[in-house]
Symmetry: C2
Subunit: 215 residues, 2 copies
């Protein structure tokens, strides 16, 4: 979202042009799906001409691929990975990040998950790029789990690759299910249950008691 400058760009700064197009496309695709958005819709949301867009993205698919590589991947890093760097307890850090989930995700779903649902059955290049973004996210989370292990925070024998998959996919999947179902209670269930899971894999236990806050 931060990549969408509102000021009109008149000089041909290709990088800024590209960012403006991708920023507009990102928001439209989040709301309407990739197939629900046309090149004309995207042009209308920018200060640019259709020609300028086609100069950067010869086809709509090219634009879609760039959304994954140049917007969604950096967003994953910014939202889920960077805040963990340097934290003494990455496990608690991951829980805290899930706990501050923005309302937009509950409303529109996660951009990555939406595209997985919509585009992996339809286009092999999309599938490959989405698969790569997901694998990258998992490996980055695993890197922090390995940090937790090195700090003596993980129980012996925990498979960090499996734990990383579970953490990423459980909450990604949750966002997918909650989208449209309007069940904020489910989000609390995700958070409290992941807390129980984290306590089970960590040596020290997370902050709160395993019993959760209810009953």
């Amino acid at each position: 979202m931060k990549q969408k400058p509102k000021a009109p760009i008149k000089k041909r700064d290709l990088k800024l042009t590209r960012q403006e197009i991708l920023g507009a496309a990102f928001l439209l695709v989040l709301e309407h799906g990739f197939q629900g958005v046309s090149i004309d819709d995207i042009v209308k949301k920018t200060s640019l001409t259709k020609g300028a867009l086609f100069h950067q993205f010869p086809t709509k698919l090219d634009l879609g691929y760039a959304l994954v590589d140049e917007v969604i991947r950096p967003l994953i890093v910014q939202r889920w990975i960077e805040p963990l760097e340097g934290l003494a307890d990455p496990l608690q850090g991951i829980l805290d990040l899930i706990g501050t989930c923005p309302a937009s995700i509950l409303r529109w779903g996660c951009p990555l998950n939406n595209l997985v649902q919509e585009m992996t059955p339809l286009d092999p290049v999309f599938r490959k790029k989405l698969q790569s973004a997901l694998a990258f996210w998992v490996s980055e989370i695993e890197r922090h789990l390995l940090r937790a292990r090195a700090a003596g925070l993980l129980k012996k024998g925990i498979d960090t690759k499996e734990a990383a998959y579970f953490i990423v996919m459980a909450h990604e999947g949750f966002y997918g299910m909650m989208k449209g179902l309007g069940k904020p209670v489910a989000y609390q269930a995700l958070l409290n249950s992941l807390k129980i899971y984290f306590q089970a894999i960590s040596k020290t236990g997370a902050k709160d008691d395993a019993s959760g806050s209810h009953e």
Copy 2:
């Protein structure tokens, strides 16, 4: 799937006609999505005329709603709930059911999750029916968790409603993410991680050791 009799139905048995239509529609929608399938596609897969279909389902949406109420809900009961009835340890039973996930789910996704992703943003009646099916599933799982509690298998203070949400949505979400991503390793991660979670909420601990089978 069992609801699709192959023998042609000539006599006007309305119930069988309905089942034949829904059985054909279910498989087509699983493969191509609701919007990717036409009434003509469905008629072609049955022994019936288009008139016979419209007699039962005046619109394609009516057919879609019936898919949720008359096919997907009973499938949930048959696949995920009935096998738990009478089991002394419902927690282990749920894990065993996830462990025997059919390959079709990994390939085509879960029929309920697919429709949630595709139709909840588009149609409020679909949303309501899908929401109701999901809530029903959660409440049935909770009924078995309460049975586990009564049998002294659950740790004190576990919120059974939250645990039921987590169990249903984590694995539903997983199916959604795995569809098209071609990562069987992720499925093992789901199973082993849910095992750790189940051990954490149960008094006795599940069969295996919390360390999982890897490393």
